[in-house]
């Protein structure tokens, strides 16, 4: 099974990177002078947001591959990438709300473009499920899902750029052209956490693809056995 190839070393690397990342967060990275201990949420919230948004874009790229090749496996890859990104997106919204409450005293701030734009992207992708599963014909389902994934995937970087151009600076800017204001220890910790989150995404993506592939193979086998003369 191709999807399962390399899953074991990838899983080990993910666990190691996550443990190292968490250790750096709590034992190495200094406490932020401005926000204090609550800034530690940054190391889980921001990598999750970056990986979720990259996952949405990756889903769009895989959808392009599907439309070009008509290969159903690309549609499945795109679907699983979007599915994983929605789960991470939910985590981003919850951890972001916790951080906002601790830093600003409010669970949500409606006039902050970064928050609202992420919510818009998240809700946009929530439409993907009803769209996909309302179509019964597998070929049409895959085609419509791919078109949606491409359009929504193109929206993500446009949305990101629009937010960058916005005037409000309530939400901290992490990735700037000058590399942000993170000191060395914080930057290293952040990069390790980002790498761990990326590895986690790829591992779970491969694991779910393996599971879906096995389920489909089993279904095909059942159909073949049922059709075979006894």
């Amino acid at each position: 099974m191709t999807y399962a190839r390399g899953l074991k070393p990838l899983s080990i690397a993910t666990v190691v990177a996550t443990v190292v990342g968490f250790a750096l967060v709590f034992f190495y990275a200094p406490v932020d002078a401005d926000q204090g201990f609550v800034q530690k949420i940054f190391y889980v919230h921001v990598p999750m947001a970056i990986v979720a948004l990259c996952g949405f874009v990756a889903g769009g790229i895989m959808a392009i591959k599907h439309l070009r090749s008509r290969e159903p496996s690309w549609d499945m890859r795109s679907y699983v990438a979007i599915h994983m990104s929605i789960i991470l997106g939910l985590g981003v919204l919850i951890t972001g709300a916790i951080w906002a409450k601790a830093s600003w005293g409010h669970w949500w701030v409606w006039d902050e473009p970064v928050l609202v734009s992420f919510l818009v992207v998240f809700l946009l992708y929530c439409v993907y499920y009803p769209l996909r599963f309302s179509i019964e014909d597998p070929e049409r389902q895959a085609r419509a899902s791919s078109v949606f994934a491409i359009a929504a995937g193109a929206f993500v970087p446009i949305n990101f750029a629009a937010v960058r151009l916005a005037e409000s600076f309530t939400h901290p800017r992490v990735l700037s052209q000058t590399g942000g204001d993170l000191p060395g220890e914080m930057r290293l910790t952040f990069l390790v956490c980002l790498a761990a989150m990326s590895l986690l995404f790829v591992t779970l993506w491969k694991l779910e693809l393996t599971s879906k592939h096995a389920a489909m193979s089993l279904k095909r086998l059942r159909t073949r056995l049922a059709a075979a003369p006894s």
Binding site: G36, F37, V38, I41, V44, I87, G91, L204
Partner: protein
């Protein structure tokens, strides 16, 4: 807003990390249940034949 004291900030930080770990664990548990079901069905098919 001034920085929260450690005991109060700790609750928020723990909450955020627990949310992250819980999300991943729930996801892995659901996936594990699916894989277990597939394995069971394969065993059933093998014993039918």
């Amino acid at each position: 807003m001034p920085a929260l004291p450690l005991d109060e900030a700790g609750k928020y930080v723990a909450g955020a990390y627990v949310v992250f770990v819980a999300l991943i664990l729930i996801y892995v548990a659901i996936l594990g249940a699916k894989i277990a079901r597939i394995a069971r069905e394969i065993d059933e098919m093998a014993s039918e034949k």
